[in-house]
Symmetry: C2
Subunit: 515 residues, 2 copies
C-alpha cells in the first residue's frame, strides 16, 4: 500500500510534467492566454463614446460605441497612447517593435513595388525610405528586414490569425503576404491600405474589369450580399477561431479592420440615426463606420463569453493613427475632427498620433482603470511576447518598444523620463498642413517638441496644460527646446534616421540640434 | 528495487497513454498519416510520360513528367480511374462522396450566383441543376448541402490546407470560401474555375481595372515577378506545411493546381524544348504547363524527404476530368488530344472522364504496382476518411463512393459487378460534340452504355477490347443494352437525378430504360 501510494504521488508529478511541459500544444492550451489585437484604421482619439480626455466631449456624445464602453469598464483605458501619423509605419512598428525612425518605413507603402507614395516637392527631394515596407526575409530592396512577432507566437504554439487590412509591404515582395509574417490564417489581408468598397453588393471592389489594387480578397462568400465589410470580417474571424478553441490551442488574432478608413461609406445597419440627427452626411456615414466597428468588438466579446474563454483572453484595442481631418474627405471644418486635439492623420500634432487604447484581461488587468503613462505602438511587440511567455526571442532587429506590462499591473505606474519619437520625413499630402509633411517630434514627460524639417522651426508644448498644442512655449523655455532637440537628434542619429535632401544644396535637412 | 521496477513499468504505460491517446494532436502526429491530394485541372489520361495504357503512346513520349514516373515506380498506378466530364461536378464529388447525378452540381458553376453556365438550346430547356454549387450550410438556393470531408479531417485533428483552384460554389454563397469547407488555410482558392493569367508579371490577373472574376487571389508576394502560377502555389503550399510539421500535427493538403486549364500559357522554364520539337505552338505551351505541374509534384516530394516525413505521407495524384480536346483552344485536330481515348473534356466518352491516378504511400502501398479496378472520384471521400482513421463520420449526405483501400492493399483486387454512373444533363458547348452535351453513361465490368439524352440513342462498348469506343455493339448485344439501361435508370431514379425538359412537350427527357 505504501509503495502504491508513493507510486501515485510520483506519477502525478510525471503526469503533470507530461501534460503541461512536454507537449507544447497541451501546455499552451492550459497556461497561455489568447490574445486579440483589435486594430482600427484611421480611428481618432475622439471617435467613440468612451472619453479618453477628462470629460466627455461633443464628439464622445456623437459616437455610439457601447462595446468599447463595456471594455473600458472591464479593463484599462490608456489616455496617452500613441501611434505614428499614418498606417504602414504604425503597422510596421507593431510587427517589429521598432520605432518608425529606426525601421525606415516612414510613409504608407504603395501596393506597387518601388513606388514612392510621397508627393513631389519643389524644395525637398524625396527621402530614401523603405518604400517597399517590411520584409521577413533579408535582401529585399527598400525594405526593413525584421522578425515579425506573429512568427514568434506561431513558433511558441500559438494559432495565428490575420483578418482584415495588412498593408505591410508592396506587391512582389514577401511582406505583401501575411503568411510570411507568421500568420497561419490570412483572411482579406494584402498589399493595399484601404478597401475599394465596403459593400458586399460591390463584391468589395472585385467587379470584373473594375477591380483596383484595393479590391478586398478572400470574401467571395459575401459577394453580392448585404454584408458590410466590417461584418464579413467579423464572421470570418469567428469562423477561423473555432479551430484553436476546439484544439485548446492558444490563439493570436490580429483583427485589423479596414474600417474606418476612406472610402467613407454608410453602414446601413447604423447610419439612419446619424442622418436623423442632422449631421453632415459624410460625418453621419463615418459615425456608422465607427458603430459597425464597435459592433464587431461586441460580437467577438460575446463569442468569447459563449465559448467560456473570455477570462483567458486578452483584448487590446487601438487605432493605427489619428482620425482623418482633411477636406473634402471628411465633413465639417478641416482639422476639427479630433478636437480638442490639434490636426489629424498625417500630423505629428496630437490629433495625428494620439490613439484610443483599451486593454481587457479579466482578473488580471484592473477593471475600470485608467493609465496615464504614455505608451507607443512599438511597445506592443515586447508586451505581447511577454504576455505569451516568450522570453529572449531570436530576433534580427533591435527593438525600441518597452513592455507596458508594469502599467497593466499598476495603472498608476509612471515613467516621465522616457522619450517617444515621431519622424515623418515624407510628403503625405500635396500642400503642407498643420504638423503634416516633413516633421519630427519628441515627447518626454509632459513636454513635446515639434520640429519642422522644411523650415527648421521648433515648437514646444506642455501637454498636460495644453492638450490642444495651441500655446507654443519655445520662446519661454529655450533650454527645454535645446534639451529636447538634443535628445531627438541623438535618437534619430542612433537609428540612422533618414532626412529629405534639400534640392538647392544637395544636403540632407539637418537634425534639430544642428539648427 | 522491485517496487521501483514495477513503478517504472506502470509508468511507461501511463506515459504512453498520455502521449498517444489523451492528447489528440500528439496522438495524431504519431499515428495518423499526412495526406496530399495532388489535383490537376483538365489534365488528360495521356498528358504525361507515365503510360496509363498498356504501351507508351506518342503522347506519353511527348510529355515530360519525371516526378509522376517516380511516383508510379514508388506506388500504385490506377489505369481505370474516372472523374466526371467537367470540373465542378468532380470537385463536388470529391468533397461530398456523392455521384454527380446525386449531388446535382452537374455542370461547372459560374462565379456569379444564380447564373446558369449552360448554353441555350432550341430543343431542350435547361435542367434544374444546383448551379450555385456545394454548400456546407443548409438552405442555400440551388446548392447541394453536404458535409465536406476536410471539415471531418479538421475535427479529427488534421491541419487542413487548400492551395489553388477551389471552384466549389458561386460568389455570395458559403461554398465560395474554402474556409467553410473545413480548410484552415486557403491560398488562392475562390469561386472561379481558371486563372486570369499564369504570369506573376500580370499579377495573375490582378491588374487594376483589368481584373476579371478569374484574377487569382492571395499571391501578392509574387506580383510583378517571374514566378509562374504553378511555382507560386507550390512555394505557398510548402510554406503552409511548415506549421503542422513543426507541431507534429497530421496534415491534409489539397494541392489543387490551376494548371493545366486554359489560358494555355507558356511556362518559360520548360517551353523552349517543346517549341524546338516543332510542336504546334499551343501544344508546346500546353506541354510546358504539364511539365511545370510535374515540377511542383517533384518539389513537394523532395520537401517531404527533406523533412523526413515522406514515409508517413500519402500522395494521391489525379486530374478532375479528361484533357480538353476542343478547337481552337487546343492545337492539333479536334478530339485527338487524348488518343487512344475518344473525345475529351465535357464528354462521357473515355477521353472526357478517364483520368491519370497515382497513389504513393511508402511501405504501405506496393511499389511499382498497377491496379486495373475501376474507381471514380467520389471514392476519394471514404478512402481519405479511412486512411485518416475516421470511422462513422457524422454526415448530412448519403455517400455513393466506395473506399479503394482494398485496392491499395491488393492491386489485383477485382469487383466487376459494381457500376459507375456519369450524368451530364447540361449543355457545355454551343454545338454538340462527341459524347458532349446531354449524355449519361454507365460502366459495369468492361461494358459501357452511352445514352444520348437528346435523341435517345444508346451505344454499347466493350472497353477492354475497344478502349477507343469506336465499335458500337448495341445491335449485337441488345440484352446488355437493356440491362445497363435498367441499371442506369434505377440509379438515376434513386438519386432523383434531373433531366432537361423537352421544350415541345414540356416533359423531361425520359430515363434510358423508358425508350
Amino acid at each position: 500500500m505504501n509503495c502504491s501510494f508513493k507510486f501515485s504521488a510520483k506519477l502525478i508529478v510525471y503526469l503533470f510534467f507530461l501534460l503541461f511541459v512536454c507537449n507544447p500544444n497541451s501546455s499552451l492550451g492550459q497556461s497561455k492566454p489568447n490574445i486579440i489585437l483589435f486594430l482600427i484604421d484611421d480611428m481618432g482619439w475622439q471617435d467613440c463614446s468612451v472619453p479618453f480626455d477628462q470629460t466627455k466631449s461633443p464628439l464622445n456624445q456623437r459616437y455610439h460605441t457601447p462595446n468599447m464602453e463595456k471594455m473600458a469598464s472591464q479593463g484599462m483605458k490608456f489616455t496617452n497612447a500613441y501611434a505614428t501619423p499614418v498606417c504602414t509605419p504604425t503597422r510596421t512598428s507593431l510587427l517589429t517593435g521598432m520605432n518608425a525612425a529606426h525601421h525606415g518605413v516612414t510613409n504608407w507603402t504603395s501596393p506597387q513595388r518601388n513606388t514612392n507614395s510621397d508627393n513631389p516637392d519643389a524644395q525637398l527631394q524625396a527621402v530614401d525610405w523603405n518604400m517597399n515596407g517590411l520584409s521577413p526575409v533579408p535582401n529585399i530592396s527598400k525594405t526593413v528586414y525584421a522578425t515579425p512577432f506573429p512568427k514568434l507566437l506561431a513558433q511558441a504554439g500559438y494559432y495565428t490569425i490575420h483578418v482584415g487590412k495588412a498593408h505591410w509591404a508592396s506587391m512582389g515582395t514577401p511582406g505583401a503576404n501575411p503568411y510570411n509574417m507568421g500568420f497561419q490564417v490570412n483572411i482579406a489581408g494584402h498589399a493595399a491600405g484601404h478597401p475599394q468598397s465596403y459593400l458586399g453588393k460591390d463584391n468589395y471592389g472585385n467587379l470584373p474589369g473594375k477591380a483596383s489594387a484595393q479590391a478586398v480578397p478572400d470574401l467571395e462568400e459575401y459577394f453580392g450580399t448585404d454584408s458590410f465589410l466590417t461584418e464579413a470580417l467579423t464572421l470570418e474571424a469567428i469562423k477561423a477561431l473555432e479551430q484553436p478553441v476546439k484544439n485548446k490551442q492558444p490563439f493570436f488574432l490580429n483583427m485589423a479592420h479596414y474600417a474606418v478608413h476612406t472610402p467613407i461609406m454608410a453602414d446601413k445597419r447604423f447610419v439612419q440615426k446619424y442622418y436623423d440627427q442632422g449631421l453632415d452626411s459624410t460625418e453621419a456615414r463615418y459615425a456608422s463606420l465607427v458603430e459597425g466597428m464597435d459592433k464587431s468588438l461586441g460580437d467577438l466579446m460575446q463569442w468569447l463569453d459563449q465559448k467560456g474563454i473570455a477570462s483567458n483572453t486578452i483584448i487590446m484595442f487601438i487605432s493605427d493613427n489619428g482620425g482623418l481631418s482633411l477636406k473634402p474627405q471628411r465633413g465639417g471644418a478641416a482639422h476639427s475632427q479630433n478636437l480638442p486635439l490639434r490636426a489629424g492623420k498625417g500630423s505629428v500634432y496630437e490629433g495625428g498620433i494620439r490613439i484610443p487604447m483599451l486593454v481587457q484581461w479579466p482578473n488580471k488587468v484592473p477593471a475600470n482603470s485608467i493609465a496615464k503613462q504614455y505608451v507607443i505602438v512599438e511597445d506592443f511587440f515586447p508586451s505581447i511576447l511577454a504576455l505569451a511567455g516568450i522570453n529572449n526571442p531570436k530576433l534580427v532587429q533591435t527593438i525600441d518598444g518597452k513592455s507596458f506590462l508594469p502599467v497593466l499591473k499598476n495603472p498608476l505606474f509612471q515613467d516621465s523620463t522616457r522619450s517617444l519619437v515621431w519622424h515623418y520625413p515624407n510628403k503625405w499630402i500635396p500642400n503642407d498642413g498643420p504638423g503634416i509633411n516633413y516633421f519630427s517630434a519628441i515627447r518626454q514627460g509632459n513636454w513635446k517638441l515639434v520640429y519642422n524639417q522644411r523650415n527648421g522651426r521648433k515648437e514646444l508644448y506642455h501637454l498636460s496644460k495644453d492638450l490642444g498644442e495651441t500655446n507654443d512655449l519655445s520662446n519661454e523655455f529655450p533650454n527645454k527646446v535645446q534639451a529636447l532637440s538634443q535628445l531627438l537628434s541623438q535618437q534619430l542619429t542612433h537609428w540612422k534616421a533618414k532626412m529629405p535632401i534639400v534640392i538647392s544644396t544637395g544636403k540632407p535637412v539637418p537634425f534639430p540640434s544642428e539648427r
